[in-house]
């Protein structure tokens, strides 16, 4: 079976990279646009959190609108060392509920930005995850998982023009990200050689999850 990989947009190729500290595996990593920039290693201090994943943190969600779009911009500016073009934000806004902000203690700390695409050859819609990120001090608290889970649940609930597939790009050596998505039953469907110009390795995987019969697919809790 052959997959056609659409070019996401003229302006950016989102990829997953792993930040260069290895003592702990981050189960959450930011995406960034690397077509015009060199890989910039993020560095921050890791606070060893005792609360861990077991302690449930209160997170609430809000959709992105004109009125709070700047919050998303601030997040992206801080998490990804790339300035996204306007196209990114118009796509995010037009995705409606699928682009979300996560609030922790009334502070906006993370977001997932998606784009809805018509599937080629007719029949259904698919969702492309452009970015998924949480501010550095608020990582390892399960906020990223919650954002993704919430989005997947929402995909299932959409009955009108149902979403058949959710997919994204990830750099081949980004084990943490791959692991993270595999937990949500994403599968590697294709490897694209020489996808990145400025990265080593220059290849990426397409991670994809098919939602054929939404009611049967279970999201891990």
């Amino acid at each position: 079976m052959r997959y056609h990989i659409p070019r996401p947009s003229r302006f950016f190729f989102p990829v997953f990279i792993r930040y260069r500290w290895t003592r702990k595996t981050l189960f959450f990593v930011p995406t960034l646009d690397l077509r015009d920039t060199e890989c910039v290693g993020g560095h921050w201090r890791l606070v060893e959190l005792k609360m861990g994943k077991s302690q449930d943190v209160q997170v609430s969600f809000d959709t992105v609108r004109e009125k709070n779009l700047m919050q998303l911009k601030k997040l992206n500016l801080s998490i990804f060392p790339v300035t996204y073009q306007d196209k990114f934000y118009t796509d995010a806004l037009s995705s409606g509920d699928f682009t979300k902000l996560a609030y922790y203690a009334d502070l906006c700390v993370g977001s997932i930005a998606c784009r809805l695409e018509k599937k080629e050859g007719g029949g259904g819609v698919r969702l492309y995850i452009m970015t998924l990120g949480v501010l550095a001090p608020y990582r390892r608290m399960g906020i990223g998982s919650k954002l993704l889970r919430k989005t997947l649940e929402q995909c299932e609930q959409q009955t009108e023009s149902p979403i058949m597939e959710v997919y994204l790009h990830v750099q081949t050596n980004n084990d943490a990200a791959i692991e993270f998505y595999k937990k949500f039953n994403f599968e590697i469907t294709e490897e694209i050689k020489n996808y990145y110009k400025h990265l080593e390795p220059p290849d990426c995987f397409v991670l994809s999850k098919t939602l054929v019969s939404p009611s049967k697919t279970k999201v891990p809790q």
């Binding site: 005792k50 004109e66 700047m70 919050q71 997040l75 500016l77 801080s78 922790y104 608020y138």
Partner: protein
Amino acid sequence: MGTSLPPKEANLFKVIVKSYETKQYKKGLKASDNILKKFPEHGETLAMRGLTLNCMDRKAEAYELVRRGVKNDLKSHVCWHVYGLLYRSDREYREAIKCYRNALRIDPENIQILRDLSLLQAQMRDMAGFVETRRQLLTIKPSHRANWIGFAIAHHCNYDAAMAVQILEAYEGTLEDDYPPDNERYEHSEMLLYKVTLLQESGAPEKALAELNSKESKIVDKVGLKELRASLLVALNRLGEAEDVYRYLLDMNPDNYGYYEGLQKCLGLRLQGTDGYTPEQVEKLVELYTSLRAQYPKSSAAKRIPLDFLQGSQFVEAAKTYIAFFLSKGVPSLFSDILPLYDQRGKADVLEEIVLQIETSLKDTGSLPGGSYVEPPPTLMWTLFLLAQHYDRRRLYGKALEKIDEAIKHTPTAIDLYLVKGRIMKHAGDRVAAAALADEARSMDLADRFINSECVKRLLQADLVDLAEKTAVLFTKDGDQHNNLFDMQCMWYELASGDSYWRKDMLGKALKNYLAVEKHYTDMLEDQFDFHTYCLRKMTLRAYIRMLKFEDTLHSHRFFCRAAAAAIRCYLKRHDTPPKSSEGEEEIAVAGLPPNERKRLRQKMRKAEAKAKKAAEEKAKEDEALALSNAKSNKKGSQVTKQVDDDPDGEKLLQVSDPLEQAIKYCKLLQENSSGALETHLLAFDIYFRKKKILLAFQAVKKQLKLDASNPNVHRNLISFFNMVDNLPAAETPGEKLVRQVIAVERDALSILGNQPLLEVNRAFLEANKDSLLHRAAAAEVLALLSPESKEEAVKIIEDSVNPPVAEGGAIAAGVGEWVLKDCVAVHKILLTVMKDENAASRWRVRMADLFPYSTYFVGPKSSAVVEAASQVPSSVSK
């Protein structure tokens, strides 16, 4: 009414009255037409027709008709009443009262007129007349509750609380035992509470308490009852019982500071004088609040109050727990909560140490000092946020910015951080950067009105008026900015934009804004009118009396004082720099050109004028069309047409023949209502000095001396006044001679002058205040005034000033200089405008740029004035 008419017309007249009351004005007009056809000179009909027209915005016709009506029927109380109503609708209350009195002379028992008269008397504070009118109303109709209450209120307002109590008691005597019925319980309860406060006011707390106890079951406002009882018990020195009541109240609301204060009073722990509490008192207070905290663990008041009286190690401990608790909770307003503590000696240093400890601990271990679990991430951000505000208060702007930037890096989405950073920049003297930051904060939540307003304020402070207006419009109705903000009495906006225009030297616009504020206060005074009836009907008597007292002191409100002072300054400036007439300007432009050129220029001007006129006409047409379409689109809407502002730049306001006369008008309001403020008398002096009103100017100086004899401005006024007197030409008329004599006598009596020559007085003043910048500047200014040849010496006095470091332990960090930016700017202006020494001014600027690196005024190296200029160069090069 309408007695002199045949039955058919009499009926028609009733129709007019009725349709006036039901606001069916057209119907009323028709009926009046019918009467007037037969009796064209019938006075009462004419008057009623006028009144109806008045409601349809045809004022001129209305006045003419009503006057004709009165003239045709001088003996009719209806005509006079209508005339009074007409005046009342135009807020000419004195005239209205006269008309009502005429009406009452004809029909002394007319209840409607008496009631209208009493309202006006209450509004005009004619209390003796108010009592009399109310007495008449009660005599005519004693069955009416409102008449009894109104009579009591009148006596209360006339400073006779005891009489008011008697009246209320007499009224109660007329009531049945099972009064009140269920639907009037609230009204009756308010009446009883009002009576108790009356008793309290008339100096009979025992009676008040007895009354309160006996009527307890009938009072529905239980909280008000308890509060009143507690304060009465305290007044009677029955502290034990009062304590019980306060404890009961605390049980209901453990966050009411007033209850804590009351409880302290009962326990003999009242703050006496300014020395603070005695050690024994503190000991008892500690005990008290420890038990209260245990009792009300959720009350923040019980935690906060001890910080005010604790000292030393006890304070450290208490502050530590207090701050840590609220940081962990993430309360953005923590700093403004603890801000008052900075004024207490030594506490600022302790607070700094505590917050720094928390910061280090969070960074090293992730938990609070001595804490057992890891704090959630926002705690560190709020700690940095608090530290930034702390350093800002201590005037360590560099450190403050460092901390706030760290916080922003930690959580770039927290909007409060940007607002505080803007505030720091403003304090540091960079208003442009402050405005940019506030705008950034605004962009992060476009639905937040508070942030929008803060941004508007910062933009105005940075003199970006157009942008500010556009931003303010985002939250006004239909984007109709000015009218809407004016209607909402948005005074902070008007003051800020007035200040901005003032700085830009656009006096007309500035004045327009300031006078708008003044107008709001007049409106507030008018607004009380409706409450004279409303409060009596609804029996909210305690609130009504409070409102009357509030209205009496209305013009001493801060906003009014600021607006009036600023308006006076505008008039003063206009007086000092009268405008060149436009014709003169033209002549100047034309002069010095060869004749043919001159002709061409004139033609050009004429063309430009014609063009502008045409454009204005087109604009007017468009507006009209717009108004028309608006009117069509909301047919149902009221007939209010949009009022076109015929003086958008306030030029007409400025073009008064005598600006000083206008200034006096507002100055009198200030003198009447804020005579305790030094600024009032400074302004009064400025006006009368220019008007050459010697005695009034001297009176202002004397008031200033009484308020603050060591103030530099007072010194300057004092000396320049006597200097002016010395240089006056010899007195000629007997009146002038008398004035001189008075001044001479007063001068001898002034101990501050000590019969010394003025130069000597100035020298002594400088010697006594040689460490203060502003005093030195004032002394220098006076020296330059008294002997212009020693200007160099004067400049030297200013330049020799040294900036002393502040004393340790205060709110300002040790080592920071005492000078504040505002004063240094003022000194710069003195050097520039009074001394006219540009070299000295630029030397001063360089010195200050070093001291205030963020100041845009002094072009400090870190201010946006410099940074922007630097960043612009490479970008333009790269293009």
